[in-house]
């Protein structure tokens, strides 16, 4: 194993927790990308892009 990685592994505690958190964060991030780019949400995204001009502006 790479010396750097061995040192890292040796100096952290509860490495399994850090690993699990990394996976959870990655899945969350991929989830947000899927949500943003899903064709079903296209209309919503276009509506939100106009929000400062319409709903979010002064009437």
């Amino acid at each position: 194993m790479n010396t750097l990685l061995r040192e890292a592994a040796a100096s952290v505690q509860m490495g399994w927790l850090l690993g699990a958190m990394t996976v959870v964060f990655l899945v969350c991030f991929v989830g947000w990308i899927v949500y943003a780019y899903h064709p079903r949400n296209r209309e919503l995204m276009e509506e939100m892009a106009r929000m400062p001009l319409g709903d979010g502006g002064d009437s």
């Binding site: 750097l4 040192e7 991030f29 892009a49 400062p52 709903d55 979010g56 502006g57």
Partner: protein
């Protein structure tokens, strides 16, 4: 003065009265503290070029005025400008008044009192000696209480919103409110010894790591995410163009907040911190380039179809330069976090140049653009001197260029001379003071750049003062019409 928005949800007409008084209060405080913070910056720039300017008094020496400058520009100027934009845009994006007017006032007066307390204690030499977290523990407690009041008010407003989806600016504001609370509390954990003195609960290296986890994320979540929220609201409004890609803004937000929080260890390269932890900081810093540039491009491309107006509209000029400097400083930062580059840059004036390209270029310019737009909107007045806004823009832009170029040149020179070896393998410049003396022309050039920037800010403040005192404009002559 308050704005009235009407909606017809479910066939029932509703009227929402926004609290714009609190916006005006924060706006005014921003203008005042901008001048104070930048003036102190110019004074300490003079002290570095010409030491007798420290006046030989302990209260006016660089060591005490430097934290006063950083606290004033970050927490007084940038803090108040964030609150100005957040109180203004949150109500409009959520179609509701702030949750509690009382909490808004507690937030305002509490925050200004903290700033005054900082302005008294720092020149007196009362400090915790942690960069950007110098304030003594009683003030830290006050910050926590005021921040909680702000948080309750902000999330209370979210809870009673009249829209279903939260616009991306609100997400950026949420990250600001939550993360700053966590950073401030964790980094300020101390054991008080007296009213003015305390000792951190962390020791040695852990203290350093917690401090730079805080320090770098203060840049990330105090000077970046709330200002990106402001960019995503005020740039489309000023340009009258929808956001180029809302999808990209979502990826921008999540990418940025996931990565930023790990980048702090790049401040501790070549320190006693384990190598692997330094590498984690470096790698996450480099990855930050992707969401940062995604956001920069999203901002610039939002102007598609409005570029002709950039030639004539000073508000858009400020915003374009701000987003460009955001791009430049978020390229420079990851580059400087690379070990080999950091070995040259660390402890040199290059770092000062980098931070000011972000602070003056990104934070300052987006703030000025937003304020020139907002004063006409909430006070319902035309700018007293529209041409002064353009003069301010050019003074600020030239000032930043002089400042950063001077600091880059100074930093590279001293970094290279510190490490230079002669043929015998000995230091080519063994006398440290010689290298320091050679910096002098660059320090004067930096002073000139900072002075130009301050003159621009003074012109802005006078312009604002005369605008507010001027006649109210007719409702149909809005300088920046809002689409209904």
């Amino acid at each position: 003065m308050e704005r009235v928005a009407t909606g017809t949800g479910a066939g029932v007409s509703e009227t929402t009265v926004y609290d714009d008084q609190i916006v005006k209060m924060f706006f005014t405080a921003t203008t005042v503290w901008a001048l104070v913070g930048m003036l102190v910056g110019v004074i300490i720039a003079l002290q570095l070029a010409w030491w007798p300017a420290n006046l030989g008094l302990p209260w006016t020496t660089f060591g005490r005025l430097r934290p006063l400058h950083t606290n004033a520009v970050i927490f007084a100027f940038a803090g108040n400008v964030c609150f100005t934009g957040i109180y203004h845009s949150t109500q409009r994006l959520l179609k509701t008044r702030m949750y509690s007017d009382r909490l808004s006032r507690v937030h305002f007066w509490g925050w200004q009192s903290i700033i005054v307390a900082a302005a008294i204690t720092l020149p007196l030499g009362m400090t915790q000696s942690k960069e950007y977290a110098e304030l003594i523990w009683p003030i830290d407690v006050a910050i926590t209480l005021v921040w909680v009041a702000f948080g309750v008010n902000f999330f209370g407003t979210l809870a009673r919103r009249k829209v279903k989806h939260l616009y991306v600016a609100i997400w950026f504001y949420m990250s600001f409110v939550i993360t700053i609370a966590v950073l401030h509390i964790v980094n300020s954990l101390v054991i008080p010894a007296t009213l003015f003195r305390s000792y951190p609960i962390y020791a040695g290296l852990t203290d350093a790591l917690v401090q730079w986890w805080y320090g770098h994320n203060a840049v990330g979540f105090f000077l970046t995410t709330p200002f990106l929220g402001l960019m995503y609201y005020y740039l489309p409004r000023a340009a009258q163009r929808p956001v180029y890609s809302y999808r990209l803004s979502i990826v921008h937000f999540w990418g940025l907040v996931f990565l930023y929080i790990w980048a702090g260890p790049h401040h501790l390269l070549y320190s006693a911190l384990p190598d692997w932890a330094q590498t984690v900081g470096m790698v996450f810093s480099i990855m930050l380039l992707a969401p940062s540039w995604g956001g920069m491009l999203n901002g610039l491309l939002t102007l598609r179809g409005a570029w002709d107006r950039v030639r004539t509209d000073p508000i858009l000029k400020f915003m374009v330069v701000a987003v460009s400097f955001y791009g430049m400083s978020t390229f420079e930062g990851p580059m400087m976090s690379i070990r080999a580059v950091n070995s040259l840059a660390h402890y040199t004036n290059w770092v000062i140049g980098h931070v000011h390209s972000g602070a003056l270029g990104w934070v300052g310019m987006i703030s000025f653009g937003m304020m020139y737009w907002m004063i006409q909107d909430i006070w319902k007045r035309k700018l007293a001197h529209p041409s002064w806004a353009t003069h301010h823009f050019w003074l600020a832009t030239i000032g930043i260029v002089l400042y950063t170029v001077a600091m880059w040149a100074a930093g590279l020179m001293e970094g290279l001379q510190w490490r230079a070896l002669n043929d015998a393998g000995r230091l080519a410049h063994p006398i440290f003071l010689d290298i320091t003396t050679r910096l002098e022309p660059f320090l004067w050039l930096r002073l000139l750049g900072g002075t130009l920037y301050l003159i621009g800010a003074i012109m802005m403040a006078v312009n604002f003062w005369q605008t507010i005192r001027g006649p109210e404009r007719p409702a149909d002559a809005a300088a920046v019409p809002a689409a209904a």
